[in-house]
Amino acid sequence: MSSTEQGTSSAAPAEPTTAPESAAAPEVPESFYYVHGKDKVVHKVSAGALQHSALIHGMISNLGYTEEQAKANPFPFENIDGDILQMVVDWCNQHKGKPTPPEDTNLPKQKEKLFDLVLAVNYLEIKELLTYCCKQVAMMVKGKSPEEIREIWMIPTDAEDEAAEKEAKKRAGKEAAGETAAAAGDAK
């Protein structure tokens, strides 16, 4: 796991690196927070970078805490894969305090990673990154026919959908019948 000025990723949170002080005026020390994903690897991220995430920003804005308390209570995003969270953290760091460009060419091209990233970004409410990701998803099917789109995105046909629905109903019916029989057996 790599360490950067704004963010450090490790199994155990490391000490923050101090940014070089400006000669003009002493800067207010930046506060850092800690997040981890499914892989439990902790990422240290500055409050400035986390401002991109409306969810995290909303959570931390009302929490007065010390560095130690933040370190001891990393935000657990168990629903986000470690590498996806790493991408999100990297993006937030790269775009910290900067206007976001109209295009972002560094987004993953692989379908699975991109969809995971979309869901993570949607969950974390990072509006600009979500816009880029959705654009990238749209680009996946540029110039494709309905059959090709169905294949790329694994969209079932209406017939397949209906069959799956019937099967699910059948299964649910069987389970309900089984439960009723079991309940009747218990009553006896």
Partner: protein, 298 residues
């Protein structure tokens, strides 16, 4: 402080219980799908809506800005719809029914900058008259459409059209009373009638009949000012005047044919120094190729 930490713990605990994500289009939440569809061009949307019923209803719920939409319906030669949003795409059809089905989708989702309609088929007219959806367009140009078709389209158009252009060539009668009475025409900033002299358009619009000279004669008692280029008359509304302008410049001279006119409703307080002397601009709007040979144009 302990309260804050408790709150933080509670929040992070809540975060932890969310489900693990899958990674497929079909597992995307509806709002994300909509956002992605919103980023697609028209062709990709058309393809996606053919994949499954659920996708179709999603695609149909998303509006798309279309810079230009040309609808041609003169079977069997020119029966197509050409759309330009990002890139241009042309869709050809074998029957009016097939084309109208496509157009209904386009009208439902499209927000048009420019809509050009050239339809002279009875089947279309009947479909239009029965159509109850609304079309959203900033500018509509009718070409080879009869009055019933124009009325049927206008009736189905949102009431915020900025510009309406229609062609009266070859028509002996034109139901201007009905067309003029539509709220779409009443509210449009610009109404352009090509070959107006074949109709009673000017008479209906400004209660006059015929040419520049007749305009002067008809409104003799209301003339505020007159010149070779302009006649300004007062109206029943003391705050408003009507200005009839004739397009005259180095290229379009007094004996030039055709002649170009425009009617403007202006403030009664407008000074003559505020008149727009650049008739080239509005003539070009009527006839975009007009000044092609003018050396000043290059």
């Amino acid at each position: 402080m302990s309260f804050d930490i408790d709150k933080l713990a509670e929040k992070t605990e809540n975060l932890s219980i969310d489900p693990v994500y899958d990674t497929n289009w079909c597992d995307m939440p509806t709002e994300i799908k909509r956002e992605c569809i919103g980023k697609m061009e028209i062709n990709e949307r058309l393809s996606l809506r053919c994949t499954a019923k659920a996708e179709r209803s999603l695609v149909d719920s998303q509006k798309i800005n279309i810079r230009r939409c040309d609808i041609h319906g003169t079977p069997p030669f020119t029966q197509y719809v050409s759309l330009t949003s990002g890139i241009e795409s042309t869709h050809r059809f074998r029957s009016a029914n097939e084309q109208f089905k496509f157009m209904k989708y386009i009208w439902k989702v499209g927000v048009f900058e420019n809509l050009y309609i050239s339809l002279c088929q009875l089947a279309f007219k009947e479909e239009f008259i029965d159509y109850s959806g609304k079309i959203s367009a900033k500018s509509i140009e009718f070409d080879y459409c009869d009055e019933e078709m124009i009325l049927a389209v206008l009736k189905n158009t949102e009431n915020n059209i900025k510009s309406i252009t229609m062609n009266a060539q070859g028509r002996r009668t034109y139901p201007f009373d009905e067309i003029l009475a539509t709220s779409q025409v009443q509210n449009a900033n610009y109404w352009h009638i090509e070959y107006h002299q074949q109709t009673d358009a000017l008479y209906k619009v400004a209660q006059i009949d015929g040419s520049f000279a007749e305009f002067l004669e008809h409104f003799a008692d209301r003339i505020v000012s007159e010149s070779e280029k302009r006649v300004r008359i007062s109206t029943k509304n003391p705050d408003r005047h009507i200005l009839l302008e004739r397009g005259l410049d180095d290229v379009v001279q007094v004996h030039y044919f055709p002649q170009y006119f425009r009617l403007l409703v202006i403030s009664a307080n407008m000074n003559e120094s505020e008149y727009d002397d650049n008739c080239k601009q509005w003539i070009l709007k009527m006839e975009p190729e007009f000044y092609v040979d003018d050396p000043d144009n290059h």
